[in-house]
Symmetry: none
Subunit: 214 residues, 4 copies
DNA sequence: CATGAATGAGAGTTCATTCAT
DNA sequence: TATGAATGAACTCTCATTCAT
């Protein structure tokens, strides 16, 4: 989290950069404080413009949020889809690859905080919830499911239930995203994300039980 | 969320019932709307009393929230600890038992929504975050870890890293809790929690890869 | 200030003592916190009864206040009037006597704080103001003026303007009453009331200028 | 108290005039109603703006009050200090001069009501009390004491006790200030301030007793 | 395009007063 | 008489949104 609150002098005040600066500032603050608790005045200040200016680019708070999502989350899903389409090896490696990639491109980035935000505040902002459901959740789920189908078809995974296993695999990654953002000031949760992913993949692939004799 | 309380006549006093009614109403609304967005007037109305009455029983919003947690979440952890202490069989069965129990007693109940709430709003309400961290998270984590230690000591699980595996096991359960609460009105996510838990346990215990030997 | 807030057990809960206990508690709190800021619940608690009971004896806050004044201030004026009526010596001695007596009986007592209270809050509570004006101020002023008239008539004071000198003499005594009650927590004003009265009488009787030759 | 400001059209902006208008309105209402009983909404309305606008200029009620004091009382003390520093004649004349000046610049103005306010409400608002004690009372007292020291040193006053005489001289002036503000609606106290000051000075300088010699 | 002063509904909290018991 | 649970209006302070400049 960088900004609160130095009005950036920005030597070259390029008009066309405005929306991007506003989106970046909004992402920062939405992730840090949540949707309802983020004040547009702070977003503006953080982007070095006035409150009124923000309304020239985004009709209201909800539209600003949607723009942030479109800008920072949606592209990542497309990228993952590309990886899957072009992959050729064992599905276990594909799974590892997609998971680590996800983390690098999304989980580790600020945008990961949006997951937490949506889970918590969707109820109060139906518009936003619908938008996110369609643009992110549904699409991300399809992408994951297609990977599992491939694995089962090729006999590389046991013949598991695709739908539910998709959810089982996604769940910890989402938790990882939310854990990355401190839960309050007395956060004891010093978690190593990479270790978490590896431990999870290890467990998911091999199970907790000892090798059955053999 | 429908307020399950009929508006009671003004002078029908039930001092001893009040706190419970208020706690129930507060739980409903906190889970539905989050901490910041829940208006105390609504809580009061929902419990069939006036705004002022609420302050006869709880000094302020934060104390009301803490009381809700103490009333609905904390006892569940104690119960789980008891199960573990008294269990005698194979750790895989203990894990299954604790997970299903958790779901029945906490996950399936409204109180599960508090997890979501905390994740989202902890940053904005440090006092609450600390309270929850100490009373719920730390204690719940210890409980889970003790179960894994037992499993490894008895040679019933592979010698995994306790700390991180605890988190890996907890993560999907927390996600399950948050998923239970619809992400907005257009929630497509019709998830069967029991099936989810079973699928997760199956994966966690046996892994995704096919039996190696055979 | 004694009470805030031990519910007095009062072995013998005499009903007939109730009003007196309430008046005493009310005086304490009115003086300490002012009229508007004194909560009737505190008055009741301080007298060891419930909030509702207070309303059995006094119809509302204003009536309670009037009762306090009638109980603690009004009698003192009558006493001063008696002193004047029965005095026989030099008027300078009478003035000294009345002033010291006033201080002993009223200024030094808690009731002195009511002066401060009235000055400050009269504007917001016209009923109270009128009551106090009639019962206390007007009567007290007449009493003082009669003393000055006697002094001038007997040639013991210079032929000063009675009305205005009355005010000039009363003013410092009233200030002394208000100063007795600390002006906030950082009150540096460690004032010796007796010394103040003596200094004032000395100045009033002899003046600040040196003895004119002689 | 009539609000001297006509309601201005919403979009007639006068940023630079606002603070002064708000301070004037606040002074009026604080003096009329006291600190606790003054509603900020009324202050705003009286200055022709909305409630929210007030918060653009003053962070909260206490800061508004401090600003009022800084604006209306503090400068007057500085002026009195200048008079003393530059005065050359007899101390009796200096005393007369300072007193009359005080009355003209402070006593006669609305700001004189702040004295009353502080005396009454300091106990309930410690922050304000400390501020006033430091910025006004302590400084004003020092100013008066320096004047008396000068008088005694030059042999123009009897060798009186500086500290206590300072208080004796200040007391009636403070009372005069509070009397200026009617004690409720049925105020019988039609007092001529100039006559009061002159009578007080006459008494203070010459005493009440007749010339001894002659 | 850009500004930022202004708005006003709405939140948490307090307390004099009521009234069934 | 005595209680104390309940009320609801009132207060301070916040912030998304508007709009004259």
């Amino acid at each position: 989290m960088q900004c609160p609150f130095d009005t950036k002098p920005r030597w070259e005040r390029r008009k066309d950069a405005r929306p991007q600066e506003l989106l970046a500032a909004a992402l920062d603050l939405f992730v840090e404080r949540g949707f309802a608790s983020t004040r547009l005045e702070d977003v503006a200040k953080c982007a070095g413009v006035s409150k009124g200016t923000l309304y020239l680019y985004f009709t209201n708070k909800e539209e600003l949020f949607k723009a942030v999502v479109r800008d920072s989350v949606v592209p990542v899903i497309g990228h993952a889809e590309d990886i899957i389409a072009g992959f050729d090896g064992h599905s276990a490696d594909l799974l590892r690859s997609v998971m680590h990639n996800w983390w690098q491109r999304l989980g580790a980035a600020k945008a990961s905080g949006l997951t937490k935000l949506i889970m918590a505040e969707a109820g109060n902002f139906p518009d936003i919830a619908c938008f996110y459901q369609e643009e992110v959740i549904a699409r991300g789920t399809r992408m994951f499911a297609s990977m599992l189908e491939r694995a089962v078809v090729r006999g590389e995974f046991r013949p598991i239930d695709i739908t539910i296993t998709t959810q089982v695999l996604i769940a910890p990654m989402l938790m990882l995203q939310t854990w990355k953002h401190p839960v309050g000031p007395c956060d004891l949760n010093s978690l190593d994300p990479i270790a978490f992913i590896d431990a999870f993949l290890d467990m998911a692939l091999h199970g907790l039980l000892p090798e059955p004799a053999a």
